[in-house]
């Protein structure tokens, strides 16, 4: 062993302390498991904290006609029927209970006049369905979960990054990582591992995602033998900030449109009339993002290449009350008063529909002992996610993953750790310090972001995707040779050198799946195949490891039972 390492043991190890990881931790603890939660940032800073618009759940507090069937139908329609229908069903059925639970743990949602949880309209949802707290719903959710989890006694390992999953034969045995603070290595031994590491947006230049979103969980799972599914479906949110340059990509919540905001092009035209006359500004995200992109491309964009989003026709007090953080964000970062004039917005890479392939009921991956939930898992959202369906996803499937992981831990022996794997993981981490030449990790990252932005963006076509894949291969070589300066103490350059490996794995999976799917569906738009293709409506792309490479296969979607088919056929 190159150096002595610290070991922690748990029944259930949860990688990720966002909504999914914390909800899983709470449930596993309730099942009597000892639970450790690891996260790259401080507790409470995961992406979930940034969620703005709300949690979708058919509580029917505002529109009495809402029920789980309608939510199920909206989710399937939004996902262009590629969703795992069983997940969509469980999600719609269980979300209201999960939201009530949050309230009972202390979350304070905005209220209706009769004292219930208030719900707002959002794109693709038939009824007013998003439970919210102004435009800071995620903050309310993560604080509630973190306080509950800490109070119940989860062990949290903050600012600790996992770089490898350890295995005992076929099953998962734990994980290897380092403390960001001092660079020391640490090993976790666990009977079950839940991956709740979120998404991959940092592979693109224009993104609403933070430094954490490098696809670690998906790449670690892939390396350990798990299957990735639907990787071609990357959501570009229609409304990110476009100006000034430093804020490009930062999210402008869909709640602006939910509260009545309208989109216009530079000629003042409400262009959504031409793209989706029925749903207009509250059409699904894939449609609106393409519309804004097209307007700008055809010369009808704003000064900085976006569209105008205007809510200034509402009373200023109302805007400040319902959208306080948007008000501040634009006033302080862009010198725009949104109660007086329009915002400039354009598409930004936002959310990953694809991810680790899991069982609907238990969130288990195809590797024994490995579970996945939240943005890191695939299935619920199909080809396009509806706004608000992520926060509810975290609660519903976080809970299910925690429960199943605890159950699995009860039934299995403590796994054996393999020193050779730990040594290999250690070596991988230390190598970049030994190289004297080679690129800076920041340069390779910038070039990857350009590649993904240019060749694997909103609109795709064969030659671009092939070009993208070729560049990814070149970047892999460069990433394998990066060198880092400085010490192991809190060293972002060193951390990025490791994150690049995950980024490249998921980027390749996205490009490969996008090339394979020769049709347009949801968030995946092929200029060379602009139509739906019936053949593809029943297939998921599945990626798994094949030696050092990637193998892609098609998996047929299971037949939907007739009671669910009946729900889908209903008009409204």
């Amino acid at each position: 062993m190159t150096e002595k390492y610290e070991i922690h043991e748990h029944d259930v190890l949860i990688i990720g302390a966002g909504g999914a990881g914390l909800r899983a931790a709470i449930e596993a603890l309730a099942e009597g498991a000892s639970v450790g939660v690891v996260c790259k940032s401080l507790l409470g800073k995961a992406h979930t904290v940034m969620a703005e618009g709300g949690i979708a759940a058919a509580m029917a507090n505002v529109d009495a006609s809402d029920d789980w069937r309608t939510h199920f139908r909206d989710t399937m329609r939004g996902g262009k029927f590629l969703n795992n229908w069983r997940m969509a069903q469980l999600h719609a059925q269980e979300a209201p209970e999960r939201v009530r639970e949050l309230e009972q743990w202390g979350a304070l949602f905005d209220r209706t006049a009769d004292g219930n949880i208030l719900q707002r309209a959002f794109g693709g949802h038939t009824f007013k369905r998003l439970c919210h707290v102004g435009d800071r719903t995620g903050l309310e959710m993560i604080r509630t979960l973190q306080d509950r989890g800490v109070h119940l006694g989860i062990d949290v390992y903050m600012e600790c990054a996992i770089t490898r999953l350890l295995k005992d034969g076929e099953r998962v045995a734990g994980a290897f990582g380092y403390w960001r603070e001092n660079g020391r290595f640490v090993v976790f031994r666990a009977k079950s591992v839940v991956i709740a590491t979120g998404g991959i947006g940092k592979a693109w230049r224009i993104t609403s995602n933070s430094w954490e979103y490098t696809g670690d969980g998906m790449a670690l799972a892939f390396d350990a033998g798990a299957e990735l599914m639907d990787m071609e479906f990357v959501q570009f949110h229609p409304t990110g900030m476009v100006w000034p340059p430093g804020v490009q990509g930062i999210l402008v919540t869909e709640a602006v449109r939910g509260e009545g905001g309208v989109l216009r092009n530079k000629d003042g035209e409400r262009f959504m009339e031409r793209y989706d006359p029925e749903r207009m500004d509250l059409s699904t995200r894939d449609v609106v993002a393409r519309a804004i992109y097209t307007e700008a491309k055809e010369g009808r964009g704003t000064e900085h290449g976006g569209a105008y989003l205007d809510i200034s026709h509402k009373p200023p007090e109302y805007v400040k009350k319902k959208l306080p953080s948007m008000y501040h964000q634009f006033r302080e970062l862009a010198d725009v008063d949104i109660t007086k004039g329009p915002m400039e917005v354009g598409p930004t890479c936002h959310y990953m529909m694809g991810g680790i392939r899991v069982d609907a009921e238990t969130a288990q991956a195809n590797v024994p002992g490995m579970f996945a939930a939240g943005e890191a898992a695939a299935g619920l959202h199909g080809a396009n996610r509806l706004g608000g369906n992520s926060l509810s996803d975290l609660l519903v499937f976080g809970r299910r993953a925690g429960q199943a992981a605890a159950e699995h831990a009860k039934q299995t022996e403590t796994p054996k750790l393999d020193d050779a794997q730990v040594e290999e993981a250690t070596r991988e981490m230390l190598e970049p310090f030994e190289r004297r030449d080679g690129d800076s990790p920041y340069d390779v990252h910038r070039d990857l972001q350009e590649t993904m932005q240019n060749y694997v963006g909103i609109f795709r076509r064969e030659e671009d995707l092939k070009q993208g894949l070729a560049e990814i291969q070149g970047l892999k070589d460069r990433a394998g040779r990066v060198h880092v300066d400085g010490s192991r103490l809190f060293n972002p350059g060193w951390h990025l050198a490791r994150d690049l490996k995950s980024l490249l794995t998921v980027s390749e999976a996205v490009a490969l799946s996008a090339l394979e799917r020769q049709e347009s569906r949801g968030a995946h738009s092929r200029i060379d195949f602009p139509q739906y293709d019936e053949k593809w409506s029943k297939l998921n792309n599945i990626i798994s490891r094949d030696g050092d490479g990637m193998r892609l296969r098609h998996a047929p979607i299971a037949e939907m039972p007739s009671d669910l088919c009946v729900i889908l056929e209903k008009k409204k």
């Binding site: 507790l43 304070l108 004292g115 707290v133 309310e140 920041y442």
Partner: protein, 245 residues
């Protein structure tokens, strides 16, 4: 566009000094953008915390020209650029490296606070007006800037006796929750030392979420402590029931 000059603290637990960097200015640029520029071009190991880049996560706190700020919301065009901009870590917390400090003390304090505990058999209905008051406290993004400026912690280093404004805000959110049934006044008085706060309002001034920490959280909590501990009738009732008024 011309360059801006930055003087940034580089160092660790054993000390450090200010290093100078030049950064080309872009329109609308914030201090965090400049730090990222420096990482990518001059100092790849410059330690900085950040996540949202939009004032929502409270990770990027530091002292810019001596003033506690979120670096992601501090615009360069609001600073005098004819002189160097200094960026230093929060002073009240031990430096780990460069701009990253050890804030783990805050998480330990937080653990002492009993969570939301609903009154038995409550009906889950609340009026928006009651909720408004509490939502103010729940806006806290845990940037710890208020903890950083509070003289009880910064100058008198009473970390062992004093919880700090952030946690008075948290407790206010629990105590004023319309359906909560627990009293935390004893904790406030004994363990979190709310009496040490002499209402200087420095915390309120730096809060990026505009929470009226002193007027809306601390003063009402102090009043509750007085009511519970110094009003003989209340004191007696509290002994009898162990509940809040």
């Amino acid at each position: 566009m011309p360059d801006a000059t930055f003087k940034i603290f580089r160092g660790d637990r054993d000390g450090g000094e200010l290093y100078e960097y030049k950064v080309p200015i872009a329109p609308g640029m914030v201090v965090l953008d400049a730090l990222h520029y420096i990482q990518a071009h001059d100092a790849p190991d410059l330690a900085v915390r950040w996540n949202c880049k939009a004032g929502k996560c409270g990770s990027c706190s530091a002292e810019v020209n001596g003033r506690p700020r979120l670096t992601c919301k501090t615009r360069l065009d609001a600073l005098p650029l004819d002189q160097p901009i200094t960026v230093q870590p929060m002073k009240s917390f031990p430096v780990l490296k460069d701009l990253v400090t050890d804030v783990s003390w805050n998480y330990r304090v937080n653990k002492k606070i009993p969570p939301f505990t609903p009154r038995p058999n409550v009906e889950w209905k609340m009026d928006q007006r009651e909720v408004d008051r509490v939502q103010e406290f729940r806006k806290c993004i845990e940037c710890f800037l208020c903890q950083n400026v509070c003289h009880v912690l910064r100058d008198h280093e009473k970390q062992e006796q004093f919880g700090g404004p952030r946690f008075f805000v948290r407790i206010a959110g629990l105590e004023m929750h319309p359906l909560d049934g627990l009293s935390r006044t004893e904790l406030l008085k004994e363990e979190l030392g709310i009496g040490l706060c002499n209402i200087t309002k420095c915390c309120t001034e730096v809060c990026p979420e505009d929470i009226h920490i002193t007027d809306n959280a601390i003063i009402p909590l102090k009043e509750r402590v007085v009511d519970d501990f110094y009003d003989p009738v209340r004191w007696f009732l509290r002994k009898l029931s162990g509940k809040k008024h």
